[in-house]
């Protein structure tokens, strides 16, 4: 279905094996820890929502209360269920009582723990059932309102106000967009809580709240029916609240989540231990909810030199893939990111980009690849910018990418105007029309520049992954091996939210979802279909 390129299968197997070792070591660490955000997520799945008089979310209050009692290593599930059982209250009522200081979760008698455990398992099963229903709803809508021919066209809205966002998103859908991402307010990733309700005044984007998810999903459902094509919704499972955002997305039927295993560490200076632990549960939830995750390797090329460091993108893709497999995400749910990265002044830059895009397609045939445009070499010259985006779209189409994130001609100036998105969609449609089938007609010439570049990138990725496997991922990040950015394992934000699991750690959501995910993955491996 696209440009054919020869790939050394032996090297791909070596890279994947090394990535398996790299993530295996980290997974062992993940399995011994929980975090405040994971426990807040459990509280949310139990039905705890809302804020106190000071605007502090109740999931935070409950988690801090369990923590103050020194019991967070056991998880919040049992503490909440105990209080529900003892006081005969709902989870929400327990949370409200904790917030009024009428209940201290550390002091609830543990006499009936068998019953409490059963109650927690029951709450988890009910939450899981609700998530499965939202997933089934999406699958039905996708059948009734099927998307157009690939690639799916992905655009961004970012007005800072959810009600303005819905106007922009509906317009984009009518203009041909298949996927709408609502960019988050700059800085939200560093909040160790999720804002509640309707929050205006975001900068460079709109705060991610569950209410905003609901409003945007409803607006997109409305326009999907109008145009007869299901429009997918994206938000950001990144930052200090990865699993909570995943839970909110699962409950509000988001379709795609930015959910990179290392992005927060590198680009937001979030502590790496916190991120590794959080990404695991967030991806378990995304897998269960039928959500496609997107990784953020495009960001590497905003700081590193794409000619010299193209292999770091591929190495990171293998790592992201292996972390994802451990969460039970099926291949089609693994949306690996890569980028049209070369400096426009680089002679033959298009050949290098074409090589990496075709290589990525060949190495990850079952994944939902997302191809992104560069922003680094854009300036206020919108006409030059539009030309760059056309070539990005062309490489994406010729190499058979599943999703193309559309560049905006005003990328370097402001968040997109309605017309900017229209022009981007029209440009992409032109490329898809005029270059449709071009990839099928072309083979990469063996021994030529494109083939040599692809081999160089793959070789570099193998070498890097085998080095990381020897050093360990945390040390590799400390050495600045990804994106040229160094982070120390105990530095960055959020380490105080990491807690060692007690021997009797209990997280019934993790248990039920992970078991189902792995059953689904092995089912898919035996020929199960992509929904």
């Amino acid at each position: 279905m696209s440009l054919r390129i020869e790939v050394d299968g032996q090297k791909v197997r070596r890279a994947r094996h090394a990535a398996e070792l790299v993530t295996g070591e980290v997974q062992e660490f993940i399995g011994r820890h929980t975090t405040v955000s994971i426990e807040r997520t459990v509280a949310r799945f139990f039905g705890i929502d809302g804020v106190d008089g000071d605007g502090v979310p109740l999931p935070n209050i409950v988690t801090e209360n369990v923590r103050a009692a020194g019991q967070l290593g056991c998880g919040v599930a049992l503490s909440i269920a105990r209080a529900m059982d003892y006081h005969d209250l709902s989870a929400q009522e327990v949370a409200e009582a904790v917030s009024r200081r009428a209940i201290d979760l550390g002091k609830v008698p543990a006499r009936r723990d068998a019953q409490a455990r059963q109650l927690a398992a029951h709450l988890a099963a009910a939450a899981a059932k609700h998530v499965r229903e939202r997933r089934a709803e999406r699958e039905t809508l996708l059948r009734q309102l099927p998307p157009g021919p690939p690639p799916l066209l992905y655009v961004i809205v970012a007005t800072g106000n959810i009600h303005e966002d819905t106007v922009q998103a509906q317009a984009a859908a009518r203009q041909g967009a298949d996927i709408i991402a609502v960019i988050r307010s700059t800085g939200q990733s560093l909040l160790d809580y999720v804002p509640y309700g309707q929050v205006s005044g975001g900068f460079g984007g709109t705060y991610a709240t569950q209410e905003h998810f609901r409003i945007m999903r409803a607006a997109l459902d409305e326009v999907s029916r109008e145009i007869g094509r299901y429009v997918r919704l994206v938000n950001y499972c990144s930052g200090l609240c990865m699993p909570e955002i995943a839970a909110m997305g699962a409950l509000e039927r988001l379709d795609v989540m930015l959910n990179d295993a290392m992005y927060g560490v590198l680009f937001r200076d979030i502590n790496m231990k916190r991120t590794f632990i959080d990404q695991f549960f967030s991806r378990v939830i995304n897998a269960y909810a039928g959500i496609v995750i997107n990784t953020g390797e495009d960001n590497y090329m905003t700081t590193a030199d794409p000619v010299r460091h193209g292999h770091t993108v591929m190495a990171s893709q293998f790592i992201n893939e292996q972390f994802a497999v451990r969460c039970g995400l099926e291949d089609w749910q693994i949306g690996l990111g890569h980028v049209f990265a070369m400096d426009p002044a680089q002679p033959g830059g298009l050949l290098l980009d074409l090589a990496q895009a075709a290589l990525t397609r060949a190495v990850f045939p079952g994944c939902t690849l997302k191809y992104m445009p560069q922003t680094r070499h854009k300036n206020g010259d919108i006409f030059q910018s539009y030309a760059i985006d056309a070539l990005h779209d062309l490489v994406g189409v010729v190499t058979g990418q599943d999703v193309i994130l559309l560049g905006m001609l005003t990328e370097a100036i402001h968040t997109p105007f309605m017309q900017d998105r229209f022009l981007a969609l029209e440009g992409a449609r032109y490329v898809m029309t005029t270059a449709g089938g071009l990839g099928d007609e072309l083979d990469v010439r063996p021994g030529g520049k494109v083939a040599a570049r692809a081999a160089e990138v793959l070789d570099g990725a193998v070498e890097m992954l085998e080095h990381v496997a020897r050093a360990g991922l945390m040390r590799a990040i400390e050495e600045g091996m990804f994106a040229g950015i160094r982070r120390s394992r105990d530095g960055g934000k959020g380490l105080e939210g990491v807690v060692e699991r007690a021997p009797d750690y209990f997280n019934p959501l993790m248990d039920v979802m992970l078991a189902t995910n792995h059953a689904g993955r092995s089912g898919a491996a035996q020929g199960g279909a992509r929904p």
């Binding site: 800072g160 700059t186 560093l190 900068f203 460079g204 680009f267 200076d269 370097a412």
Partner: protein, 263 residues
């Protein structure tokens, strides 16, 4: 055009004399005033929307308005591309753009200047402050690999550069600058949506003043929407816009340190 000669406020392009006191845009004829604009109106596409767009362009001061493209954006929005001739002109002899005053020095020249005139390494602290996570401008100036083939400040043997990275609180930046006895502070602001950079830049100045450190340091800001004029208005010594090269920033800092006797 290539033969342009500047003299006494007049430019002589080929056979034509341009009156610099009444400059108008050039499309394909001298003084034709040709401009292109585009915008979206919240009106359903059609002749009435096109006429509305034409009238709006007329009110913007355009003559000979041509609505050359009208596109239906759906949901009662229409996009227009318009050409016309502006009826306005500008007196280019009266245009004054405030710029920081300094001489751009090359890599070797600058290092020599610091050794000779300052006699120790220049300490420069840089950060993207507030919630801004976009380090592209800061990195272009500070990272050793620099920008457009020019080393960043880290690459200068006579500069000790500390790049604090993104999303640095103003408090942290001030504390680090005092700690390192910085000669200069560089602040990069890329996210300027809703003018968020203004209060953020202002707060930094106020904090430095409160710490009694403002006069001890050369304070510089930069970013795609930063002008020198704005920077000076906010209490900075200089502002650098897009396309600025590391040697420009380094030269300004070094010369300003000498000029103010901070060495």
């Amino acid at each position: 055009m290539s033969e342009a000669v500047r003299s006494e406020g007049k430019v002589q392009p080929g056979a034509r004399t341009v009156d610099l006191t009444r400059v108008r845009p050039y499309g394909d004829q001298w003084d034709d005033g040709a401009v292109q604009i585009s915008f979206t109106l919240p009106l359903a596409a059609g002749p009435a929307a096109g006429e509305a767009a034409r009238q709006l362009a007329r009110k913007m001061g355009l003559d000979g308005v041509k609505v050359v493209a009208q596109r239906d954006l759906g949901g009662s929005f229409s996009f227009f591309v318009i050409y016309g001739r502006t009826t306005h002109s500008v007196d280019a002899t009266q245009v004054d753009v405030p710029r920081p005053r300094f001489k751009v020095m090359g890599f070797d020249e600058l290092n020599e200047y610091v050794r000779r005139r300052i006699g120790r390494k220049l300490v420069v602290v840089g950060a993207c402050t507030g919630t801004d996570a976009h380090t592209i401008g800061l990195d272009a100036i500070m990272n050793i690999k620099g920008y457009a083939g020019q080393h960043g400040l880290e690459g200068y043997p006579e500069i000790e550069a500390a790049n604090l990275g993104s999303q640095v609180a103003n408090e942290t930046l001030v504390a680090r600058a005092i700690d390192l006895e910085a000669d200069a502070i560089l602040v990069s602001q890329v996210v300027t949506e809703k003018e968020i950079h203004i209060p953020n830049l202002t707060q930094l100045v106020e904090m430095l003043e409160a710490e009694g450190f403002r006069d001890e340091v050369v304070l510089v800001c930069g970013g795609p929407r930063v002008s020198h004029e704005l920077a000076v208005e906010l209490g900075y010594d200089a502002g650098f816009g897009p396309g600025t090269l590391p040697p420009e920033v380094a030269s300004f800092i070094a010369q300003e340190v000498v000029r103010r006797g901070l060495a």
